[in-house]
Symmetry: D3
Subunit: 135 residues, 6 copies
């Protein structure tokens, strides 16, 4: 049976929820306060989960120092203290909801993670709202 | 791949664990302190999880404001500051254990949630004891 | 300089906020949901803080095992899984608000704690509401 | 002896740390990532603490529902989902560090709180950084 | 549908990550600070999850008092305040990483848990690193 | 009025509670499980609090990046992944209880902190036991 290992990281960012194909009234109706044109922000907590076999030589699925570096290089360095709408090109064409941020983080990490390891992303937007991908 | 979104809520309630088909000795043996006839209580924390496709127009699986309203209407307004045994008809015929409360919350929300969305309930009775339904 | 040591405990209880000198309308106005005559309940978290000199032989202000036993004997055994209004005589004549419960816990522990040690009580009624005595 | 009661609230906001009297190099040296001109943001957690005598009729220092309303009217409604630099006039002339936000919150609440009650503000910018005013 | 019940426990232990088949340089390269020959330690938090049908007579999947006793007998009494490498025979031949500790806890509890109940172990080594078995 | 700023850090270490002036029976009686000669360990959480005036140019009492570096240089680098009894000379002559570790951390940081700033240390040995110095 496989083991899942989990590593928590965090980053702070500003964002705005806004669909450029809609007029102001529709954006306000759907996104409410989150549509503030001056942006608002969050302390995002990110959990990266990796599933695989335990290597009998190390007792590890993946070395946590390696996973920590991957998270830093692939996610934190790109999102921490950033304005997601204006500074992260992935959100030029999709709305930076928690759902979409989680999918972007998944795709970034998936590219550098060895293929034999499964990946799952959990993203906390606040202590009361969070998302998981894949479900 | 689908995304799971999670929303946390809480309510305070009193309850008593007691099977009316058993005598006092049997209830005391099985339920111990939880069988106190004067009731005791908990701060329940509830996590409602919804699984579905991300809508490309909103970036949402479900609007958190809608999910928050569903939780308030279907669960919190019925259970908060209530005596579960004496004031909630679902517990007239079944014991208000964490397991059964979670199933009742699931059934209430399932009725109003669109069919294409999957549902999962996590109910914390204390910081150290919690249940999930379905498993 | 002195050191403060802190020990966390918890108990579950039912209560009702109600002033017998007032009529129903006044109780409802002041206490709202908390006045439910069928009771509601909480998971109380209690922090007992003790201030004193560090004993050079043990490196302790007070042995945590001793403090743990004091909390169990003086507080938890009297309040856990109880109905505060109906089963704890201190609340026959005063309302079991968080403020009054904290003062009662203080008085119980103060009686058995050596005089050279200062005492402070923090009582969490929920994760968002808590009280400290003395302030 | 008096009792301290504490109530937790939260709000999300965007901000930028920047001193208009300094040039870019100096701002970058002092504020680093926090000087991002496109803003970043936080989930702020706020604890409002009120110290006073317990009213023997209610068992309360202050009714938590009243304190909750004060926090909502005086703080949350002004800061939640806002850009602190651009939308809150108090930060037109002072930098929205955690220290200054806490002082602003204190001043807002102090104006409406009865004089016989002492006030203290704790503001969490992240889980690892927080400030208290007065110290 | 089945319900999953979860119970949290904790224990403190010392350990060292070290593969006796490797030389010092290789151990240092792979395990870094965790290879300190004088040991270091953790407060481990353990969540034991049990999946099964709800018994209609008790409303329980498993009585939490029984599960608490199982965890105490099968895990806590063997690991709490111990040096994992030197005092726990399971780690004489495998490295006490979080992955391997979780598998050992699983095997210990699996032996005494009724066959109709599924089992899952979550082990937190720190607040930021944890593992789950089976994945 | 002054502001208090707080910064949280953590380190993992092994220790043993043992008074070399006592015989084995006395050490066992006083320190119990904590006297295990093979050591046990903890994830220590450390909060360093600094009290001072807010600098009007920066809005800071102290720059958190500077405080973070002080904690890393003066505390974490000396204690993380260490055996306190065998590798930290301050504990050659005093017992590494939470009380004494907090005092040692205080003394280390006090030496490098500007004199106009007050200092306070909070050290969590577990989630349920912690100490503060000065009280």
């Amino acid at each position: 049976m496989k083991v899942k290992v989990n590593r928590k990281a965090h980053f702070n960012a500003a964002h705005r929820l806004f669909n450029p194909n809609w007029d102001d009234a529709k954006n306000q109706e759907i996104f409410g306060l989150c549509n503030n044109p001056y942006f608002h922000g969050h302390n995002y907590n990110l959990v990266v989960s990796v599933i695989g076999e335990v290597d009998p030589d190390t007792g590890y699925v993946i070395d946590m120092k390696i996973l920590k570096d991957i998270i830093e290089n692939e996610v934190t360095s790109k999102l921490d203290h950033k304005n997601l709408n204006m500074e992260v090109k992935e959100f030029a064409t999709q709305i930076p909801t928690a759902e979409n941020i989680a999918i972007v983080c998944y795709n970034w990490i998936r590219e550098v993670l060895p293929e034999n390891l499964e990946l799952k992303i959990t993203l906390f937007e606040t202590e009361r709202n969070w998302v998981e991908y894949p479900a």
